[in-house]
């Protein structure tokens, strides 16, 4: 307010008492105040949306991307349920994540501290392709957290890269049941719970290679299950049009996890240098957008056009980023990476900032500026002679 007053005063000084210029200045000041209030209110609302702990369930979250997502949610002050097939790894992951929270608390500033105090991690063993296990997980989450706001179907497996004829019955059955049966069962149960919750909820299914419909030789089974899931998403969207539950997809792009690295060749690894990311990096981008998702049918993607462009432009620099010429990994192990976590989290990423604002925001900012320009031009055009 103070600064806008100063600007108005300066404007009066400059106009030198011309009454027409004075009214113009008054109008633009008023316009500025209105726009300022709107933007302010919007950011307050956004803040309000972002605040408040969310209750999150992530399947297959004791390794790889699932674990990184869980950690990121926790560091945003959310309550997370961990689930995986083996009870031991669930326990181990809970311990690790609790340590991460403590570390986060020790370096956090006051405001962050308050949100971090809400963070809580619990977990149970659950085989997503067994209906009774999934029901148990739902009940566990409701007992521990009260309600479920976000459910992420992250559990997935591909059992390595080789031709279909070399996959055993057991392998095929596990891939199909984890990726397809698991996602369908979990989505059904999550929707069942969420539709009776006051605030509804959001379900995310994870995309993977093949989702877009391009062929996936050497991992045909995995690819076709992921492709099926994309169609499933479209059907769900139609079925749940009037429901309070949002169904979305999240696409992590290529992540350096066991799933991708099992059986990858030297040539693959050189390609990975270009486009792959560490799970923590991907989670840092996906989680803030998953937390504020609204409506239904949204796609939260990591590999967006600006990122791909950036990767192509910096391709030369990215050689040897994760793997050296002989295909040896040159990136730090998970524990070491997490140790440097606090600093890397604080680093500002331009592409992240760009994408935090959805397309709609950019459109409205653009149209607002056009409207402003029009008002200024039309009112200043008035006194010109001959028009």
């Amino acid at each position: 307010m103070m600064s806008s007053g100063v600007i108005v005063a300066v404007g009066f000084q400059l106009s030198g008492g011309d009454s027409q210029m004075n009214t113009l200045i008054w109008y633009s000041w008023l316009g500025g105040v209105i726009i300022g209030t709107m933007i302010g209110a919007n950011s307050v609302l956004e803040e309000h949306c972002k605040a408040g702990p969310r209750n999150v369930v992530i399947t297959g979250s004791t390794r790889g991307l699932g674990k990184a997502l869980a950690r990121e949610f926790l560091l945003s002050g959310d309550r997370v349920v961990i689930a995986s097939r083996s009870p031991e790894s669930v326990l181990q992951t809970i311990n690790e994540l609790e340590e991460n929270i403590q570390e986060g608390l020790s370096v956090a500033k006051k405001k962050q501290r308050e949100t971090l105090l809400h963070a809580k991690v619990v977990g149970t063993s659950c085989d997503v392709c067994k209906p009774e296990d999934v029901k148990k997980l739902v009940n566990f989450a409701r007992d521990e957290l009260g309600s479920i706001d976000i459910w992420i179907n992250n559990a997935g497996t591909n059992k390595g890269f080789r031709p279909l004829v070399n996959f055993s019955d057991e392998d095929i059955s596990q891939i199909v049941s984890t990726n397809l049966v698991g996602s369908l069962l979990c989505t059904r149960e999550a929707m069942n719970v969420m539709q009776y919750q006051e605030k509804g909820g959001h379900v995310f299914n994870m995309d993977g290679a093949g989702s877009g419909g391009s062929s996936t030789p050497l991992t045909a089974v995995y690819g076709s299950t992921k492709c099926g899931l994309r169609q499933f998403q479209a059907s769900l969207l139609k079925e749940s049009r009037r429901s309070k539950v949002g169904v979305h997809t999240a696409s992590p792009g290529m992540v350096l996890t066991d799933l991708l690295l099992s059986g990858s060749s030297l040539r693959n690894k050189q390609m990975f240098n270009l486009i792959c990311e560490l799970p923590e990096t991907v989670a840092r981008t996906l989680v803030p957008r998953m937390r504020v998702v609204k409506g239904s049918g949204k796609a939260v993607n990591y590999l967006t056009p600006p990122r791909i462009l950036l990767a192509l432009v910096t391709a030369w620099v990215r050689r040897g980023r994760w793997f050296d010429e002989e295909g040896r990994a040159v990136y730090a192990a998970e524990a070491d990476r997490i140790r440097n976590w606090a600093e890397s989290r604080a680093r500002f990423s331009f592409t992240d900032a760009m994408e935090m604002y959805t397309e709609n925001t950019w459109v409205s900012v653009f149209s607002l500026s056009v409207v402003c320009a029009f008002i200024i031009l039309s009112s200043s055009g008035g006194p010109l002679p001959g028009t």
């Binding site: 209906p131 095929i172 059904r188 062929s215 045909a220 076709s224 099926g228 479209a234 079925e239």
Partner: protein, 274 residues
């Protein structure tokens, strides 16, 4: 290759599978029938043997979801007719359930996914394994269904997802075979369109479904009559290109919808609409 061909069709004791089997037999080919139910296999094989002679048709019980059943099927086929030219993966299920996902039972979900996806994958694997060692090579046909093109299938989301994955599997396998330089086996897609079988008719409960079934569906024998010559043409021409044989093409569908709206054609053809 010269006819007669050796054909294997999964899930072939009723519906499209049965109609296809009959049509191949009429063309003089040898056919292996299989399905989950022992009595149905027996009665169908007896009927067909009566009509087409003892040495043209054989049948065995096989649950495509079981690896060992499919292996037994391959052994049975080798034993009876030595090699297979055309393997049609027709077995499919929608558990006769048309409900939103949240109301679908565990059993229905499992049944649909294990039959349509898991079963198909196991069959494809065994078929490729068998055919690539045959001097004559072979062709595998996967049957698509609603949702294959990626369009949504509300009320049967699980079925649609599995059928989408069928088409994708075919595509990946084509790429894979080429990569591994297997050039005597090819995987194709086969699209029968809408066929008046139990699978489709169990969904004729809403007004919209009845409308489309009346306009677009055809009885199994009509569909098989069109598909079989097209399938047989592939080994006859010794073509190794991937194909997607479609009965109900877009043009056909749109012209039928037009004639229905313009002239009221095919109203109440299979089910009463009002």
């Amino acid at each position: 290759m010269v006819p007669p061909y050796n054909i294997l069709i999964t899930g072939s004791t009723k519906g499209i599978g049965y109609a296809l089997a009959k049509e191949f037999l009429k063309a003089g080919d040898n056919v292996i029938i299989c399905s989950r139910s022992a009595e149905r296999v027996e009665s169908v094989v007896t009927d067909l043997k009566k009509e087409f002679g003892e040495q043209h048709v054989w049948g065995i019980v096989c649950d495509v979801r079981e690896g060992k059943d499919v292996k037994a099927l391959v052994d049975f086929a080798r034993d009876k007719i030595k090699y297979i030219d055309i393997w049609i993966n027709n077995a499919g299920s929608n558990a006769y359930s048309f409900k939103p996902l949240v109301e679908t039972s565990d059993e229905a979900l499992m049944e649909v996914i294990t039959t349509n996806t898991l079963g198909l994958m196991i069959c494809c694997r065994e078929a490729i394994n068998m055919m690539r060692n045959q001097p004559r090579g072979g062709h595998i046909f996967n049957i698509d269904g609603a949702g294959s093109d990626g369009r949504p299938t509300p009320r049967f989301a699980a079925y649609g997802a599995t059928k989408r994955s069928v088409v994708h599997l075919t595509k990946s396998l084509q790429a894979e075979l080429q990569m591994n330089e297997v050039n005597n086996v090819m995987v194709h897609n086969l699209s029968p369109g809408m066929v008046t079988t139990d699978l489709l008719m169990s969904g004729a409960t809403t007004k919209q479904a009845k409308f489309f079934i009346n306009i677009l569906a055809e009885p199994p024998n009509v569909v098989a009559d069109y598909l079989v010559p097209n399938i047989r043409a592939i080994p006859t021409n010794q073509s190794m290109k991937p194909t997607y044989i479609r009965f109900l093409t877009g043009l056909k569908a749109y012209s039928r919808i037009f004639s229905r709206i313009a002239f009221g054609a095919r109203r109440n053809k299979y089910v009463a609409e009002d």
